[in-house]
Subunit: 232 residues, 2 copies
Amino acid sequence: MKAGPDIAMIASLVGDPARSNMLTALMTGRALTASELAQEAGITPQTASSHLSKLEAGGLIEPEKQGRHRYYRLTGPDVAGVLEGLAGLAARAGHMRVRTGPKDPALRRARICYDHLAGDLGVQMLDSMKRQKLVRAGKQAIELTGEGKRFMAESLQIDTDSLSHPRRPVCKACLDWSERRHHLAGTLGAAMMARFTELKWAARDEAPGSRVVNFTRTGEKRFAALFGNGEA
Amino acid sequence: MKAGPDIAMIASLVGDPARSNMLTALMTGRALTASELAQEAGITPQTASSHLSKLEAGGLIEPEKQGRHRYYRLTGPDVAGVLEGLAGLAARAGHMRVRTGPKDPALRRARICYDHLAGDLGVQMLDSMKRQKLVRAGKQAIELTGEGKRFMAESLQIDTDSLSHPRRPVCKACLDWSERRHHLAGTLGAAMMARFTELKWAARDEAPGSRVVNFTRTGEKRFAALFGNGEA
DNA sequence: TTCATAGTTCGATGATAGCCGAAGCATTGG
DNA sequence: CCAATGCTTCGGCTATCATCGAACTATGAA
């Protein structure tokens, strides 16, 4: 009865270091080629190919052929959500990968979590939104208030009525692994991050696979004006 | 390379079928003993012990010693959340799994835990005793109040002064197998159960090895009068 | 005390699965 | 056509790890 492939099947897919490296590389939301993923995982293309077909069979990633290349991306935000959840558990247990690079502080400050803002600034933003009563945080769900809708329209030119999605909530609390607190996910979180990019307040790091988000000087100011934490 | 939580470490823990069976068994919120988890996973106790220590080291479960038993539970709702997320991904990929059948309802309602009452009624009894201030529940210990002593003498003809025992506390909170909450153990718990039997309010099931406790109709009424939870 | 039960540790075994070298398709460009 | 690139398949090697038998510790019961 329990021999069937269940959550162990999926978890074992993520449980291999090479595969988990590929998956975390895909958490930026961008699609990467098989070779790039192989390099990301530190393995040969042959081995990577085997891993990628397994991940595809497990429904975690999906391919898109483009000429000689084969681009892979996560099949959906829910996959990224589970990965982020696993990262949270790992962080809580103190199982960090010890390789600390120069990008580490930047990664903690602001990074992409699939398609929305995470890190210190992401947590700060949600905190501020709660303080300003732009969102109402219930036990599980987060809800946008009327004031929040006005705020989004006036300050960020985001039409919140167009954010409804059949398989994804507008607001969602996503556990931040570095801060161990929640930041804002969902279609609103994604839309806000996209707006930040459009406004040239912030941009993803150019390095391929990097999840770091760099804020411009003016972007940081505007962001602080809207979502500052009131500290000196 | 990259810095970050080692999600492969956590995922590989869940990735083993035996361990994932244990974890899903714990997702009900109940705490289970090592043997029960072994049976749930269909493995020997030796193997289960190895798995359990790994899960504990990974911060996914935590033990609670209770006499000869060792109860394990998930360390928090976030663990259950990640497991649920993984189950969602597995379901989406078409990897469904057959759920295990429900346990004996009578066993859940009332049973013997060593020598005292456990199950729904056992938990209900301790709850009611707290509400009526018959006992004072501290962080770890439970203490009988003066009012509690009077109650025991008048309503159940139990001389609480004679319950002292060199190696056993009078009152003790015991984690309930099915309710995942505490019921009353200790010499008082044993004395109360013995009294219920004497008064023919309840009797142990005749089937050998059965832990089920059957309440008589009048016994149930009297019990409810003393320890009813106020519901209709 | 002696016995029984719950759980752990140790050691050996066996199967799974990651890994890479070499060769095989497929696509693009000349 | 041929050559180069991106990726996959095949075969064999190796290491990891789940598994269980046996022995050991600890708690409770008689």
